[in-house]
């Protein structure tokens, strides 16, 4: 885990250092700032050092808990990220939960009745669901639920001037659309995956053994099929996580959710390298962490995988 994070940070840092763009571009075009001041500033932030010294600086600072300083917002990067991270985690977390809640029952039901009407409808909807990109469904949702029906707000506000239940209700209301857009997109591909995984397991010998025991079909499915079918699904969920973060960045942009996705985009646009670096690194950490979590879930689902 640690070596992979080190590798990721090294690659990220090098790529960002090679990228064009300069945080002091604005100062450069501003005639009131003399070139000596600009050079002094560059020297102060170490921008003219070779890449590897800058990387080592960054790494040492990072280990000491210093995440850097945002050129644009004039505040510490860690504060900036901590402000934004919870929103993103809530949106992604609940969308993953929605995706699983939709995909598991629908996929299992579709697999137990292959080629039935239910299966075909589920398959068609799933196909539509993961064929449409989130920026399209997002706009469609805004059009239908915010503009036509006027049920939900289409801009996510961080500062809601309400208290108590009203506060939570407002938060839930404005989260529904981004969560749904992400969750249904994820859920759609998961449905097809759960279905094929269950279909694979349902043919296996031990399922026939389970049936021969006289336990009802329902229990055969829930106890003997689903747990085995979940093992490859966990892999998929973990592998798709980077895609989810990518989708979250787009969705946050559409709904103006003040998460790290929109922070990433705005800091990229303003060449705010420390923030870009920190945000991508945080996302990388999260992906690595969730893969670790997936490994732990494997061990719990499948006793053949042992960590001893």
């Amino acid at each position: 885990m640690i070596p992979s994070l080190l590798g990721i940070s090294l690659v990220l840092f090098t790529v960002l250092a090679m990228a064009p763009g300069d945080p002091f571009e604005e100062l450069a075009t501003n005639p009131a700032v003399p070139p000596e001041v600009r050079a002094a500033l560059r020297a102060k932030f170490g921008l003219d050092d070779p890449v590897w010294t800058r990387y080592l600086h960054w790494l040492v600072a990072m280990i000491h808990g210093d995440w850097g300083f945002s050129f644009v917002s004039r505040m510490d990067v860690d504060k900036l990220i901590l402000q934004r991270l919870p929103v993103t985690l809530i949106v992604i977390g609940s969308s993953q939960i929605i995706a699983m809640l939709v995909a598991l029952p629908v996929g299992v039901l579709a697999a137990t009745r292959p080629y039935s009407l239910f299966d075909q409808v589920a398959n068609t909807l799933a196909f539509v669901g993961f064929s449409l990109p989130t920026f399209f469904t997002g706009l469609l949702f805004i059009l239908v639920f915010s503009i036509q029906l006027d049920w939900l707000p289409f801009v996510y506000r961080a500062n809601i001037d309400a208290t108590g239940w009203q506060f939570y209700w407002e938060h839930i209301k404005q989260s529904i659309m981004p969560v749904m857009v992400l969750g249904l997109f994820q859920g759609a591909s998961l449905v097809r995956f759960v279905r094929s995984s269950v279909l694979d397991v349902i043919k296996l010998d031990y399922v026939t053994t389970a049936r021969s025991k006289g336990i009802g079909e329902r229990k055969v499915i829930t106890k003997h099929v689903v747990r085995n079918a979940l093992i490859p699904v966990v892999t998929l969920v973990a592998l798709q996580l980077p895609i989810v973060f990518g989708g979250a960045i787009v969705t946050e942009q559409i709904f103006r959710v003040p998460g790290i996705g929109s922070l990433l985009i705005s800091s990229m646009l303003s060449n705010d390298t420390p923030v870009v670096m920190a945000v991508t690194f945080v996302i990388a950490c999260l992906v690595v962490f969730f893969n670790l979590l997936a490994d732990i879930i494997y061990g719990w689902l499948d006793p053949r995988i042992s960590y001893r």
């Binding site: 031990y206 026939t208 053994t209 025991k213 006289g214 009802g216």
Partner: protein, 323 residues
Amino acid sequence: MAEPLLDIRGLKTWFKTDDGMVRAVDGVSLSIDRGETLGVVGESGCGKTVTARSVLKLIDMPPGRFEAGQILWQGRDLIPLDETEMNKIRAREIAIIFQEPMTSLNPVYTVGDQIAEVIELHQKLSRKQAMVGAADMLKLVNIPNPERRVHDYPHQFSGGMRQRVMIAMALSCQPKLLIADEPTTALDVTIQAQILELMQEMKERFGMAIMLITHAMGVVAETTQRVVVMYAGKVVEEAPVGALFGDPRHPYTQGLIRSIPRVDRSAGRQARLESIPGTVPSLLDPPPGCRFAARCRYVMPACTQAIPPLKEVAPGHKVACIL
């Protein structure tokens, strides 16, 4: 004589495929008495397994379908029963063990869990009592350290041990009939003998009947009282085991017996083992007449006209051949 324990009459289990109807079991009749061991032999793909699974209705429907026939279990036809009724018979009255012990157990539950599941369900015991019962069953099938082994997962057992676990699971409700679908095919020879011996021992202990499906004629000779020979979805010969080996009537049975390797005869003189030329015909729209005709050494024109009926040539010895 009293009514047989299991009486299959004219069973037809067909499968609908894209190419047409596969007549996997096409008019099979056989019966098993209490405490008897019946051998069902035949090549791969002749309908033995489908017959066995039909009894417990473990055939996927669709594509499978019972086209005709009756499966009388102690006089009661199983075919019209719904799943709830069938589940009262499965494991409690008729149990089954399969060919592949490596894949017949669920890899994610301990063997104790899987045995206890049956006991809990059919004997209405608590989980704790059922686990004790599971350990007892493991002990019965000679698995060392049963109290510890109940907590092990299937991958921690060898093939032979897993088949013992399957037997323990099958016997945990003392069924009246055990269907053993090629229980030793996937095991090596020394383990085969142990498993057969174990089944014999269990049979004597519980007084149950066994339907032993196999393609090994040697196994049949050793363990069964009566034998049904199947070919291409049909019964071609049925006889007490002595009569079958002493006086095989159907050319197919004769061929099967000739293909048993024999140490005493092969040495020196004629070392080549005989085989039956050709393979089992497609069960998809089979040709009229005797299905063995194409491979039979005594074939004559009448053979391809109509299917010869099963007729009794000696007491308890039936053959479906015009010879």
